[in-house]
Symmetry: C2
Subunit: 99 residues, 2 copies
């Protein structure tokens, strides 16, 4: 599996305005083949810091994700939402173990 | 490395009241040996769903984390903050690759 973790930033006051575009991105991504987890969440200590959590079955699914129209549509929204400082990292990961 | 991902829930209206205890837990955990990442964030689509993101150098660091007084203090706060539904999973993970 591949875990994607990282952050983007936007002005906290834009979160409400961004919610519809985020919801579209989250729901369409979760519906993709091989998407195990996909979520956006605002850091409780740093308003406007959005933590991205994704889990994909394999690299092929992630490659396909990057070519989707909903990803292009989401990125096209960034300038008007003042979303910036994209910092995402991929980790090869084993199976989940409850702790 | 070990990535910890998962969620806890609390009433959204308790987030503000929980912030001080969350801040103490986040900052003391980040200061631990082997803590690479530690964050709490509220899901943008599900108010009150708190996403936990942790990265630890190895299992020994994670074992030590579970024995810390700040973790015990944090858990002791849960009843009065109505924090529940703890669902955390550990993943063995490779080195980060920027994407």
């Amino acid at each position: 599996m591949i875990i994607i973790l990282g952050t983007v930033r936007l002005p906290h006051d834009n979160i409400a305005k961004a919610r519809a575009a985020m919801e579209a991105m989250v729901l369409t991504s979760r519906a993709e083949d091989g998407c195990i987890e996909y979520g956006y969440a605002e850091d409780v200590l740093e308003p406007g810091l959005v933590r991205v959590t994704e889990i994909w079955r394999d690299q092929a699914c992630l490659d396909a994700h990057f070519k989707t129209p909903h990803l292009a549509a989401w990125r096209a929204e960034w300038p008007q939402l003042a979303i910036s400082e994209r910092r995402l990292f991929a980790y090869e990961a084993g199976e989940p173990r409850p702790i």
